[in-house]
Amino acid sequence: MAFYVVQFLTGLASAASLFLVASGLSIIFGVTRIVNFAHGAFYMIGAYIAFTLTERFSGAFGFWGGVLAAALAVALIGVLVEMVLLRRIYHAPELFQLLGTFGLTLMVEDLVVLIWGPDDLVGRRAPGFKGAVDFFGQNIPSYDLFLIVLGPVVLGVLWLLFQRTRWGVLVRAATQDRDMVAALGVNQKWLFTSVFAVGVFLAALGGALQIPRDAVHHAMDLRIIVEVFVVVVIGGLGSIVGAFVAAVLVSELNAFGILIFPKISIILVFLVMAAVLIVRPWGLFGKPEAAARKTPGLTVNPWRPLTQNERLGSLAALLVAAMLPLFAGNYALTVGSEIAIFVIFAVSLHFLMSVGGLASFGHAAYFGLGAYGVAFLAKMAGLPMIVCLLLGPLLGCMGAAVFGFFAVQLSGVYFAMLTLAFAQIVWSIAFQWVSVTGGDNGILGVWPASWAASVSHFYWLALGIAALVTIALRIAVFSPFGYALRATRDSVLRSEAVGINAKRIQWTAFVISGTTAGIGGALFAYLKGSVFPDNLGISLSVDALVMVLLGGVETVSGGVIGAIVYKALNIWLVSQTDLSKLVLGGFIVLIVVVFPKGIVGMLELLAQRRRRSSPPGSSLLAKPIESAE
């Protein structure tokens, strides 16, 4: 019995830190509508700076002062980030801020290694809480008891801040309707900055307070950010009390899940998250969100099929790519195959996200399912490669059919979070169902058949399939179905009023998209010769998002271009420098700030300007476009 009580208390102690970080994210999202991916990074910097300060300054004052100073310092960094970066992109397309904050996260991951080194850092114990308390023969660290008390105290302080101060009232008002608050003469800029500062402070404090419990390391940001997303979704976006309850719930699920259901301990929280999202999409303590005001004057370049010239150009590019084996070595061809596969992956997400307006945060699930599908068929059933390639993606298709059915009932951030939960469920299964999937060791020895075994043959195969998939999806974009899908993206109300079953259209798109991702995954399994849980992990899902956003989410070709640029740059940087994440992150941030419409969007803009500045008829290129009707 005592053991279970101690386990419960340990869960509560873990909840404190999680609550701090989650409440910060929740507040920031509530007001600015930004899903701050860098929140984990701020948490991590908080821990690192606190480590340095508490090592430098001794005594109780040195420790507690150091923790507090670290949180304040990170809050200042947060203010800087908000003013320099986020302010410029509040009006960028939805989720674009996610790309910007993701870029920051990449940069921070390299920066902390650069400054503090790659090794785990073990901080000192908290003065006054070094010992343990005996509880019926079980030891509880007294620092855990301190954290257990701290959680509700912070909750109380935040509650007072939001209920009793003018600033709190403004924040709550802005959470409901920020345009109205701005119309009432409140300086929105500073409100946003201060909210961001408070949110980041909480994240950094959460990180700083972890040092007596956990080692500080440079991957702690990704680990916490997933958990924080879970907490915020279960509790309800924008709800502080919800964040607290959900933090406790998640921490206890983690603490007891490992005892009671050791086989499915990881999956448990995500199952709960998915269940909450399906039954109460706005979370346990959240409120159904009023539809956000559409930015007036929102205009997107009308989408049109490629002109004859552009088709020829694309074909020429494809031919050049096909001639690569004539002059490039094996390494370049392997890289080329990988890029081709990621083009498939990116265009599959693009179809769902740009055409359907449904940004999946867990698209790697269907990529990975395709890969596992191939691995199962090849290793267990011993089927030939061509059969595996045809049937493997069906696993992705089935996953998309099941998960998609639930996911399309939601929209916006809730859709994103539910797809994330589903992806983590699939990942957990792959990770923990060792007898079938091999767990962390994966499934090895998935080699291509002899006809595709040579590097150049495989490259042609990957390139050919990528071209076919891209063309097929492009045709779909300009098919009647594509129009219907875009219609549901623009206005569900109007779609239903002209006889369109919006959910069914979106579900169909989800299945198409998932199956396509599965095709990419199937090829990937043969390229690598193995399948690992990472193939359906969160970082791969983020990669897909970044590729689409980088290329331009409002464009038709964004997926292809984004995938090529991102993947090529990524591989090249890794080979050139140890600080590849720093450079890549910086590049992404730059793109976000300078070219918020993505690469293709920027090119379109340039082409448009050139057409306008030149007198009609003078530009040969412009002619066919203008006479397209």
Binding site: L298, T299, P302, Y483, R489, E496, A497, G499
Partner: protein
Amino acid sequence: MSVAPTLLAVEGLTKSYGGIHAVRGVSFSLRSGEILALIGPNGAGKSTCFDMLNGQNQPDSGRVRLLGEETTGKKPRDIWRMGVGRTFQITATFATMTVRENVQVALISHGKQLYNLWGSAPNVDRTEAGRLLELVGMGGYADRPCGELAYGDLKRLELAVALANDPKLLLMDEPTAGMAPRERVELMRLTAQIAKEKSIGVLFTEHDMDVVFEHADRIIVLNRGTLIAEGSPAEVRGNPQVQAIYLGEGLLYEGGHREGASA
């Protein structure tokens, strides 16, 4: 007019939210080719009525029949398939698509091509879309992104979209709200003309009494959820109960009728 069949029959429509009776026992009917105005002060239950007619909202009791077929309990998309077009009080269009594409989507849906993944949508019903746009005077705007349009043009586009499935009945919720006076007259004149030509029944709500009295064949008046008057424009204008409601707001007087002339 009396030979035209009853197109829409509404019987005892009732809806309450909590303790508030938004609509109480409303019954009326509409014939093909007839233009019926539903008027009443703010909060009278006009929009609730409307939403129940096209399935956006479900009544607590009462029934709605279209050419004898029950529509109560059906979804908006199914009611649309029965031949009911609708425009919204706040326009709902596909903002990132062009004007022509907006109409094409409705035509694609009408032609049951929604799950066609292979065809070339830009060429689907292109002529028909152009014809509908010409009809509402938007022919010159076909390639403009819908998000660029002025509000009055959006209203006209909505009309073109609503006409895409050869509707038997048009439901127009404040079709001229937010438009300039001259645009209002033009749009309603156009609607009336189309309705007469194609024998479409039109039910519309409107605050502008000029528009109502000029174009409606018949008027029904709603106040606090109940139907208080029904008749020709002249009859409704002479109805003391209606006058009491509107005179209290200073909206209706003999001679020139101006909306919001309370100042």
